[in-house]
């Protein structure tokens, strides 16, 4: 893998730090008039998700990480692993609980997801921004409450629980924004 010196740092660069792949979120050049230059970098650890800042001297270099994002189709879960397929190569990948994390509750078979691979292993899963899921459990709908007013919890087919308007009923399909976990509309 390539190594990068601090003058090559840029947003999105994937590097290895303390044994984990990390992505650069923000790169800032710090240079006192007479002093030496530093590069202050906000990094996201791609395994733990932790975001923190590290400062490098101008002559430091670090190893790149073999990380890439790939569009894949979600196939199924066997309870322990979540299985995906690259629609171009038909190659299958299995993500474990740590990699799928909170995304598990949005996984619907056949949906397109972005899988982040490190050394060809899934380390994180990004669901589509919007998913359509069926309500499997919610209190009965209230008539005449279609415009505005309160909300209630609804359990979706994947197990996710979202706040929905009072008029939503079991069996309906809903459009959910996975980035906020919020109800958008009926599908």
């Amino acid at each position: 893998m390539a190594t990068y010196s601090s003058n090559q740092f840029k947003n999105g660069l994937k590097v290895m730090l303390d044994g984990d792949p990390c992505s650069m979120v923000d790169v800032e050049f710090v240079k006192p008039g007479k002093g030496q230059a530093f590069t202050r970098v906000r990094l996201r650890n791609l395994i733990s998700g932790r975001v923190w800042e590290r400062t490098f001297k101008s002559n430091e270099s670090i190893e790149g990480a073999d990380v890439m994002d790939q569009d894949m189709e979600y196939l199924y879960s066997d309870g322990e692993m979540w299985h995906f397929m690259d629609p171009n190569s038909f190659e299958q990948f299995a993500a474990d609980k740590a990699a799928i994390g909170d995304s598990a509750k949005w996984m619907k078979e056949g949906d397109k997801c972005i899988i982040t691979l490190w050394n060809n292993n899934p380390i994180s899963v990004t669901p589509p921004n919007f998913v359509e899921l069926e309500v499997v459990e919610t209190d009965p709908g209230l008539k005449g409450d279609t415009a505005q007013g309160g909300s209630k919890p609804a359990t979706l087919s994947t197990g996710a629980v979202v706040r929905v308007p009072l008029f939503i009923e079991r069996g309906q399909k809903l459009k959910i924004d996975t980035r906020t976990g919020e109800y958008v509309s009926r599908a």
Binding site: N7, F9, K10, V27, E28, F29, V30, K31, P32, G33, K34, G35, Q36, A37, F38, R40, W52, E53, R54, T55, F56, K57, N59, E60
Partner: protein, 325 residues
């Protein structure tokens, strides 16, 4: 960092910003005309380069027509050496308002080619020069309040550490308590600069003159003992809202000491494997002839315009930022 050229033809600054910039440049010239300080425009292209280890010159190639011999020249990082040669030649108080170049420095606060205002006042010390810098800055930023604090008190107030007395181990430990900086460095100034740039500067509001820098950061300032007996540089810097705006000295006039510092800079460059450039021995010769007692300061004009216009990026106050130039 966005150093790659972009293909847009439009300026990076609005015409309105350039109009206000022009008014500031004009008011700077009025300021010095009213004080009988002569404008000079020394050469930007020189056979010699700056000595500071952490400032790099841009190299330019000169070919005499018909010759295949290439000569290396250097775009000046400040007009300091040339202006001091003029002072030694009897020019009196002088200022220069023009372009300088610093290799490698690109950020929202840095453009490799930028406009510097540098001036020297015969018979002034750094305290008197701070008064004049204050007057000039207030003429552009009338609502600013400016205070003065020593480098030591700044560190004591913000970080509860004496920057002159603390060891490298103490400085680096304090740094690492706040900043993830796992590298090693045995130069206390690396850690002082980290603390200054990462923890103190962002907390500085309004105008702050910092004086009494460590002797190791004297550059071309004199070194004297402060009231606690510690050797400090007769150097000051002005920060405005955390932006480093000006750097001034009660100037070193001792030729032998000047020669020693040029050599020390060169040795440090060698140790850090930084480019070796020809040093300006004519500056030493000028000091041998006699530099009048004086104080001098360099001020980043683009940054002053940024502050006046409330701009967050230097590109917004210069016609064409580096990637569009």
């Amino acid at each position: 960092m966005s150093a790659a050229p972009d293909h847009h033809w439009e300026p990076t600054a609005s015409i309105e910003h350039l109009r206000r910039r022009a008014a500031i440049l004009s008011s700077i010239r009025d300021f010095f005309a009213a004080r009988q300080v002569m404008e000079v425009d020394t050469q930007i292209l020189s056979h010699c380069a700056v000595s500071d280890p952490f400032i790099d010159s841009i190299e330019a190639n000169f070919n005499l027509i018909g010759s295949d011999q290439m000569q290396s020249l250097y775009l000046q990082t400040s007009p300091e050496f040339a202006m001091k040669r003029l002072l030694a030649a009897g020019a009196g108080s002088i200022y220069q308002l023009g372009k300088v170049f610093r290799n490698g420095e690109v950020s929202p606060r840095h453009n490799p080619e930028f406009t510097m205002l540098e001036w020297y006042r015969i018979g002034f010390d750094h305290w008197q020069l701070m008064n004049e810098v204050e007057a000039l800055v207030l003429s552009v930023l009338p609502d600013l309040t400016i205070r003065r604090i020593s480098y030591r008190d700044l560190f004591l107030n913000h970080l509860d550490i004496d920057p002159h007395q603390a060891s490298v181990a103490q400085l680096s430990r304090l740094c690492r308590a706040h900043i993830d900086a796992p590298f090693e460095d045995d130069d206390p100034d690396t850690w002082r600069n980290l603390l200054m740039s990462h923890l103190i500067e962002p907390a500085l509001e309004e105008g702050v003159f910092v004086y009494g820098f460590p002797a190791s950061q004297a550059a071309l300032a004199r070194v004297e003992r402060d009231e606690t007996g510690i050797e400090v540089a007769t150097r000051f810097e002005l920060f405005v809202d955390g932006l480093e705006l000006a750097n001034g000295y009660y100037e070193l006039t001792d030729a032998a000491e000047q020669a020693r510092r040029l050599a020390a800079d060169q040795q440090q460059r060698e140790r850090l494997q930084l480019p070796q450039r020809p040093t300006e021995q004519r500056l030493v010769a000028a000091l041998q002839q006699g530099l009048p007692e004086c104080a001098g300061v360099a001020l980043g004009v683009d940054r002053l315009v940024m502050l006046a216009l409330g701009a967050s990026d230097i590109a917004q106050v210069i016609p064409f930022a580096f990637n569009r130039a």
